[in-house]
């Protein structure tokens, strides 16, 4: 039996509301909130980045897995906001948790799909018997260009998953990946903010790949939406995962537990992983979960998971995602947000 033996998430404390951003750009907040189904998003503190978020998410995963970190054989961080352009994030994470030096380490980047990519590989290595435990984290401190629609959603957060073969809390029953070369969203080297292709990011990109991946894995596993208790699709905003869920034949009840984007925003590589973590927070033994990621460029990884009895032993050993979202919130104004996110030009 191979699967998840520990999971954990981390949510930064600061928030900015859609209204606060819209006010600055003279945009119509109610239409954004309705159209994209967004209320507010997380903002990382100035001393937080993909590495620090990965560390805190991993510490929560380790609390649930209760293993010796030195036995972790691979450490992967998926992100599009690695603090260094050259120098891995994962090495710092591995050093902090005490997994070095006998460990394989790599950083992944595939827009918002990098987190699920790491999960795919870590799971694969455990299943192949190459490593005892595998660690994969999806985390981001994403930036949308000031005034761009992405600015309302680009958020910060992450989730970490430990894979192993003993005390498994959710087995991985099937995997599937769906990928084509689709230029819907990108950031060129040395550019601070990403660019996107407007409405091209919708049907030919997100919806095509998410449905392709979800239908592919269900066909491969011989399942239908009715076989699942819960589904998590990547959440670039509040609306897309709802719409794609409906397109695939899922109900709102199946989507709801992992649907975090209205109050979290889009945590990019952390998005569907955090949705999965939030779903595991409430799942019962025997529940079946479908997770479908999406990364621009474009691709989608899918996993079919079945929750085991072990979930009840570990669920409360670390803070739940929604509890973190509700706790100790600090709403900031756009000026503070601009300062935190280094959008203000200062004298050298």
């Amino acid at each position: 039996m191979v699967g998840i033996i520990g999971y954990g998430a981390y949510v930064p404390r600061h928030r900015i509301r859609v209204e606060e951003i819209a006010k600055v750009w003279g945009a119509d907040a109610p239409s954004y909130k309705r159209g994209l189904m967004l209320e507010e998003k997380t903002v990382p503190a100035p001393d937080q980045d993909t590495i620090t978020i990965s560390v805190e998410a991993t510490k929560n995963a380790l609390k649930r897995a209760n293993i010796n970190p030195a036995e972790i054989g691979c450490v992967y961080i998926g992100s599009e906001s690695h603090p260094y352009a050259v120098k891995p994030s994962g090495t710092t994470l591995a050093e902090v948790i005490g997994a070095t030096p006998d460990v394989h380490c790599a950083d992944f980047e595939f827009a918002c799909k990098a987190g699920s990519e790491g999960m795919f590989v870590a799971y694969g290595l455990v299943k192949a018997g190459l490593v005892k435990y595998g660690l994969a984290v999806g985390a981001d401190t994403s930036q949308g260009a000031p005034g761009d629609a992405l600015e309302y959603a680009a958020a910060a957060g992450g989730a970490a998953f430990l894979f192993g073969t003993e005390r498994v809390i959710a087995t991985i029953d099937e995997t599937f990946s769906y990928m084509t070369d689709t230029p819907d969203f990108w950031r060129r080297e040395y550019q601070h903010y990403p660019q996107h292709a407007g409405r091209f990011t919708g049907d030919p990109s997100y919806f095509k790949h998410v449905t392709g991946s979800a239908n592919g894995i269900m066909e491969k596993a011989g399942m239908t939406p009715q076989d699942f208790n819960y589904v998590i699709c990547h959440q670039p905003n509040g609306k897309f995962p709802q719409r794609v869920g409906k397109m695939l034949g899922f109900t709102r009840e199946q989507i709801e537990p992992g649907w975090l984007s209205p109050i979290l925003g889009n945590t990019y590589s952390g998005s569907s992983p955090m949705g999965l973590a939030s779903t595991l927070d409430i799942a019962k033994p025997g529940d079946r979960i479908l997770m479908v990621s999406y990364g621009s460029g474009s691709g989608s990884d899918s996993f079919v998971l079945t929750v085991t009895d072990q979930i009840d032993q570990v669920r409360d050993l670390a803070p739940h995602v929604r509890a973190q979202l509700a706790a100790n919130k600090n709403y900031i104004d756009y000026g503070t947000y601009a300062k935190f996110r280094h959008k203000i030009l200062k004298a050298e």
């Binding site: 503190a45 001393d47 937080q48 590495i51 620090t52 710092t92 902090v96």
Partner: protein, 130 residues
Amino acid sequence: MSTSAKLKREMPQRYRMEAGKCTTCGYIAFPPRSICPECQAREFDTVILPDEGTILTHTVIRVAPSQFTDEAPYAIAIIELGEGARVLCQLVDCDLEQIAIGDPVKIEFRRIQAEGKSGVLFYGYKAVPA
């Protein structure tokens, strides 16, 4: 200036809070020391400091040294982490006007300093309200 060697050398303390515990009297040395200041014994076990503690005293830095001016104002506290182990570090994610001696805190991993815009990043421990 090359700070890479220093960054690397200090990782056990900055990243994992590795301390020395005197095998004779139990004194916790953070960072580790060669000789116990309490009993002069020279044997220590490596221990990891607890990640929860309480505030012994605190301040809010409003006039900061050159490498921290972007972050001011920020809080600093001396924290007791149990067994007498104490650290000084920043206290973040808190209301600067509401910090009090005795408040419970926990340790989080944060970025402490950056060596300019292109140099290395220094990570380590900070405290947040528990």
